[in-house]
């Protein structure tokens, strides 16, 4: 009766109270966010003006900065950044590194034409003899063989040959990846390859419009320091027409001379269907 009614009124009042508080909180939050946006907008505008001023000033070439304007700390920091930046350029040359207390940590970088790919590190200790402490060279690269031959007598040669192996491996892998990525419609399924990427086998059609893959290609890269194959066999079904056999021979020659993804690129997109 009365009590139930009173409870209901109390509940309603509490609800209204809560709603009121929530609304006020939301208002406060919006106000805070708005203030923050204004603050950041101003900061951004000031920075923009600063940078514009810089870039206008830079149009006058050869303006040397007055060293008295910069604190000794700022000058040092500038120099540190400069040296770091030159060290980064060494990364682009293929051999870079850092001295450590017990030796050197070399970094061998790899690239295919203008694209830099994986880099590998090699931690060498120099006392009592030069030896390999730690490295990230993949297991299928003949590191021990190369080290046995050159590490003690000619470190430069050792690194150079190791770099040849790594660059060639990465180059072969890059070609296979590019082929799989950009010409997947001309290859049947996924091509077969080993971890060293020196044996590739796949069925393909130079034309992208067909559903059959009349050619089988087997590429063997006998020279581990080379990213072009030493042996190419392109075959088609024994009952196939002579024209197909001629094409197979032509492709066999092509794959020996041109990088795989570039060879496929040369097939063009508007070829007659090879059925």
């Amino acid at each position: 009766g009365v009590f139930a009614h009173l409870e209901m009124l109390e509940a309603r009042a509490r609800e209204a109270d809560l709603k009121q508080t929530a609304m006020e909180q939301r208002k406060e939050q919006l106000a805070r966010l708005e203030a923050r946006v204004q603050e950041l907008r101003q900061q951004r505008d000031e920075l923009r003006a600063k940078v514009e001023l810089q870039e206008q000033g830079a149009e006058k070439e050869g303006v040397m900065s007055d060293p008295a304007q910069h604190s000794a700390q700022a000058v040092l920091e500038w120099k540190i950044r400069k040296v770091k930046s030159t060290l980064q350029v060494f990364y682009l040359t293929g051999i870079s590194g850092k001295l450590s207390k017990q030796g050197v940590c070399f970094c061998i970088s790899t690239a295919y034409e203008g694209t830099y790919l994986d880099s590998y590190y090699l931690n060498l200790l120099t006392e009592p003899q030069v030896r390999i402490h730690r490295h990230s060279i993949p297991v299928f690269i003949p590191l021990e063989q190369i080290a046995k031959k050159y590490l003690q007598t000619d470190i430069r040669r050792f690194l150079s040959i190791l770099s040849d192996h790594l660059n060639a491996y990465v180059g072969r892998r890059y070609q296979a990846d590019q082929l799989q990525e950009h010409f997947s419609d001309r290859i049947e399924g996924t091509m077969q390859r080993n971890s060293l990427c020196n044996l590739l086998v796949f069925n393909y059609n130079p034309s992208s419009k067909s559903k059959t893959f009349p050619f089988n290609a087997r590429l063997l890269y006998g020279d581990l320091c080379c990213s072009l194959p030493t042996e190419v066999v392109v075959s088609c079904a024994p009952a196939a027409p002579a024209a197909l056999a001629e094409t197979a021979a032509a492709h066999s020659d092509l794959f020996r001379r041109l990088a795989l993804h570039k060879a496929f690129g040369s097939f063009g997109s508007a070829r007659e269907c090879v059925d």
Partner: protein, 190 residues
Amino acid sequence: MDSSLCQAYKDEIQSLEEEIRLLAEKYEDNQQESISFSDEEILMSINSFQKEFQKQSGGHEFPSDLKAQLESLETDLSFLMKFTGIQFTSHSKKTMEKTRNRTVQKHRLSGNCHSLSFELEFQLLETQTKDSVSAVITDLSIMMESGEDSDLSKFVSSTEEHGNLLTFFRSLSSYAEWHEHRRCTFLHFK
């Protein structure tokens, strides 16, 4: 209506913070790339920096961190130049484009490898993907005195065409050594 306004503010805050971060980096880069200090000025700064902090902190070690850092970096650099035979005599770079995922810098580099000197210009595009940074060279231009040597000039133009900066340096090392050896041999017979 309320909550969408709230979200709009939050989105704008995020994009403004990003923009501010990029602008601040751009300002730093521009500063770094436009000013230049001579070796003497740097030496003077190292000395005055040490004195400043020795006064303030009563001879504490830690502020010399910057000096130690610089020394360690310079030791690494001089080791690499000696080891590879590649000496860089000047290097300048200019940031052409910088967004959250992409940086394009134009580099000018000159130096020599034994007696062969070179001057390079190239653009370096660095793209940030979720796991790593990829680097691609474009617009490579190589200037080398290759006068009598047609093989060398053929090599240089083919390298330029494909942006093969890495191959250029690796081949330069071995070619320069051979060239030096040949030069010494000729001098010996004169």
